[in-house]
Symmetry: C2
Subunit: 220 residues, 2 copies
């Protein structure tokens, strides 16, 4: 059984997330940017994660996460998201306050704790940001979703998740009433800068920048 330190768990989680973003191999610089550590520190950690067989590491050619690594990363992600649900549902945190705390709680090592927490929360399938919660075997059932930016004029949909979980972005969404589950309709799109006019929840028309509509995920 592979055991990882807090730091190794954080790196592996970052590598997993970067892997999900399409590209086959993840670069040292990508990880460096994500983790806010210098590339030299990343290289060192990659060597260690390679030795532990949670990634495949070929010097100078980036890394691939292994099946074992994926499983471990999903465990950490599961814990992170369950704790986020707990904080919001039980402790009345708002969705922009949970991230840092969950980033610490996700490392607590107790199988029983997570089983019981899951049960206590009613086996939630999604976290407060709409992200799917893997089961204890690492199985994850994500619903189909696409960026709001890709909806055509007059197209409609429902917000199911956010890509960016920063407090600033989430508070902005609160302000315009764009919560998870809200219905949206695209009223107009500006070719020039990618900005969009959206009808939120059938009551409010809001102009959103390209950046914003790229970070809102909807299902149709």
């Amino acid at each position: 059984m592979t055991t990882l330190t807090y730091s190794e768990e954080n790196y592996l989680k970052a590598i997993f997330h970067l892997s999900e973003e399409g590209k086959k191999s993840v670069s040292t610089n990508d990880i460096s940017a994500e983790m806010k550590n210098r590339p030299a520190s990343v290289s060192d950690m990659l060597r260690k994660l390679g030795e532990k067989k949670v990634i495949e590491y070929r010097k100078y050619y980036g890394v691939h996460i292994t099946e074992e690594g994926k499983k471990l990363a999903l465990q950490t992600i599961r814990k992170h998201r369950l704790w986020e649900v707990f904080l919001v549902e039980k402790l009345n945190f708002s969705w922009d306050e949970v991230h840092e705390v969950a980033d610490e709680l996700e490392h607590i090592k107790s199988r029983l704790l997570i089983q019981r927490l899951d049960e206590y929360l009613g086996f939630p399938k999604f976290d407060p940001h709409g992200d799917p919660i893997p089961d204890e075997y690492g199985d994850i059932r994500s619903r189909p979703r696409l960026p709001l930016s890709e909806i055509e004029i007059n197209g409609t949909g429902q917000i199911v998740a956010v890509k960016d979980s920063s407090a600033a972005f989430l508070r902005y969404l609160d302000k315009i009433g764009a919560y998870i589950g809200a219905r949206i309709k695209v009223l107009d799109k500006v070719e020039f800068d990618g900005s969009v006019e959206i009808l939120v929840d059938n009551k409010k028309s809001v102009f959103m920048s390209k950046d914003v509509v790229g970070n809102i995920l909807v299902m149709q």
Copy 2:
């Protein structure tokens, strides 16, 4: 504002607990035994804690915890005990399963988290082992209590806490029905080995060793 690492918090908590056990100054060896680290490691840590002014450290003469140190230790203890209550009350842990997990959870750094947890649990005053929970200013109101070993023959009382929180001891207490709140009566005492016969909860007569009755705390 003094910030401590996980390790420093653990040492300080140990020093605080050892200080409470009567003696004015705590020795390096005491701490070493409590923390299961070698004395040399303890010496090193004492120097650091001394520099941070959370203890008074005179080489070769043991340590005293300072007011600042006491406050910080009580914060950690508060978190530890609140998490224990959470685990037992909300996640259905039994009182012998909570200690290790709480020992990790106690280090999570979020003021809001602890305030909300406290509120969510209904501002509990005692943890599952009967130990008092300090408030957010470090004030702690302990109820008067004494070891069961000090009750005279025919004396009665009520179990309010346990000194030893090891799983083995707590499971033994479960077996004999000696939960927190149980009424007890001392039926007989054996001079020779300090063992005692106790009527538990008005229904069960149990023989307990000196060791056991020394670790059960009662109020009369």
